[in-house]
């Protein structure tokens, strides 16, 4: 079954966030990975780009389909996971670790309050 680490925050779009100092690391959940299947290309923004909550910041191509990545909160991109360029399969094998995608410095702190707890996200997934 899907697992949702307790130290993370979640979104309706099956993304997770992990506090990294003043920035937040963003990836996609095991549930999303299971639905996508094998991932072949991850396209990410550049460091320094500004992203807006709910807007597309990247795309994931799996063998079968293409999906957008939506910014969980507004902010500035402070890091991207360059390993995914050559090893997109990290998202499949380690969605909560080596498969992370970007780090964001939030510009609207209040948006963080809208993120889901692991329990709430678990209920969200169960209802899918």
């Amino acid at each position: 079954m899907s697992n949702f680490p307790g130290n993370l925050k979640y979104t309706n779009d099956h993304e997770w966030l992990e506090a990294k100092g003043s920035a937040w690391r963003v990836g996609i959940t095991q549930f999303a990975v299971d639905a996508l299947g094998d991932i072949t290309i991850v396209s990410l923004p550049n460091v320094g780009d500004l992203v807006t909550k709910g807007q597309r910041f990247g795309t994931i191509e799996s063998v079968k389909s293409v999906s957008d990545l939506y910014a969980p909160v507004s902010g500035k991109v402070t890091a991207i996971n360059g390993d995914l360029d050559g090893k997109p399969e990290l998202v499949n094998s380690e969605p909560y670790a080596g498969g992370w995608m970007i780090e964001l410095e939030p510009t609207e702190a209040s948006e963080l309050d809208e993120l889901m707890s692991p329990d709430d996200y678990g209920k969200h997934v169960a209802a899918q």
């Binding site: 299971d34 299947g37 290309i41 191509e61 079968k64 293409v66």
Partner: protein, 368 residues
């Protein structure tokens, strides 16, 4: 409505398959190994596919050859007994009703395997256009179908048949007992690899599947889902009905002229196809490879333009995906014949981004 289940549904569940709705059937899209590993297992060893959702029927009767002659673009009726023949079924205007394989069992009996999504349509088509020349017997609900594909498939299945399949050539079939199960064993497939497709009675399918999986596992074989079935057939440039074939395009436009035998024959669509062959096709299905560095995959429905920028669409992508063994991103598209020669540059609108691709001739993957 509940999805239909093949007789191997429990086996898929046990293997941990991810099941999806495929034309009303609850089918495995992948197993825990994942599509890429499953794809590679077929290229390097052997893969097992449950394709029991496909439709099967018999056409029977003293005048069945007259009926079959009228239905098929390929020379099916005149084929030798024991031959499996890939053919198109066409409308009078030359569009494709379906692509399928006819197995000539005798001068009075053909076994036919058709696409799952077209089973009802094809059966109705057969009944309508064979008139009273033959009986049409639908056995889809009683028949399971397992494909065994890959470089290790022939020896593996032949061993399970105690050598009864030795000496079979490509596109022939035989009644045989495989792992104790009575089957029609055909040396056919949809992956670009050698192998067999085994049709058996529903109730025997779980035992056959279990024996095949037991034999395949030590060889590096895997159960393979529909995800890899699609990526494998794309690399081998085998068209998929509903993507690359439909009643809007003719077999000649789809590059299937080799399966259209027009000499001294009259069949549904033959007049249109004869004229089109003489005049040349104005559009055709081509294979393309996305140019390096684009980091994009062109998918079904994406528009094709002659050049980047705001120009009108000249064609459409019908299939696309990663080339799992051949690398890069590959696909099929209908384009005007003026843009169809190998080396032609196409521009594909990948969700608002212009991506260039190059037309390639032949299969993306050809087994050595």
């Amino acid at each position: 409505m509940d999805r239909r289940k093949t007789p191997l549904w429990d086996a898929h569940k046990q293997l941990g398959a991810r099941l999806i709705d495929f034309g009303g059937w609850d089918m495995p899209v992948s197993y825990p190994a994942g599509t890429i590993k499953e794809h590679k297992a077929v290229r390097e060893a052997v893969g097992l596919f449950d394709v029991s959702h496909m439709g099967e029927c018999y056409l029977r009767g003293p005048r069945v050859r007259e009926a079959v002659e009228k239905l098929t673009t390929n020379a099916v009726a005149a084929a030798p007994i024991g031959k499996a023949v890939y053919t198109l079924l066409c409308t009078p205007s030359g569009g494709v009703v379906d692509d399928c394989i006819f197995y000539k069992r005798s001068d009075e009996e053909f076994f036919v395997i058709v696409n799952a999504s077209n089973t009802a349509k094809d059966l109705a088509w057969f009944r309508e256009h064979t008139h009273s020349l033959c009986d049409v017997v639908d056995v889809s609900d009683d028949t399971a179908l397992i494909a065994v594909q890959g470089p290790k498939a022939l020896a593996m299945v032949d061993a399970l048949a105690n050598g009864a399949l030795a000496g079979m050539t490509s596109f022939t079939f035989r009644d045989a007992v495989v792992a104790g199960v009575s089957c029609v064993a055909a040396r056919t497939g949809y992956t670009g690899e050698d192998g067999f497709e085994l049709a058996c009675a529903n109730q025997d399918a779980p035992a056959l599947w279990a024996a095949l999986l037991e034999a395949a596992t030590p060889l590096g074989g895997l159960a393979v889902g529909l995800g890899a079935r699609d990526s494998l057939r794309l690399e081998a440039k085998l068209p998929l009905y509903g993507n690359d074939l439909d009643d809007d395009h003719t077999p000649l436009e789809a590059g299937l002229g080799w399966a259209v035998k027009l000499d001294n024959r009259e069949f549904l669509g033959s007049d249109v196809l004869r004229r089109q062959k003489a005049e040349g096709v104005k559009r055709q299905l081509v294979g393309f490879r996305i140019d390096d560095g684009a980091r994009a995959i062109a998918r079904q429905g994406y528009g094709v333009k002659a050049a980047p920028g705001p120009g009108k669409e000249i064609g459409v992508v019908t299939s696309g995906g990663p080339g799992i063994v051949v690398g890069g991103a590959i696909g099929l598209a209908y384009v005007p014949s003026t843009h169809a020669s190998a080396g032609s540059t196409l521009t594909i609108d990948c969700r608002g981004k212009d991506v260039t691709a190059t037309v390639v001739s032949g299969k993306f993957y050809k087994r050595s």
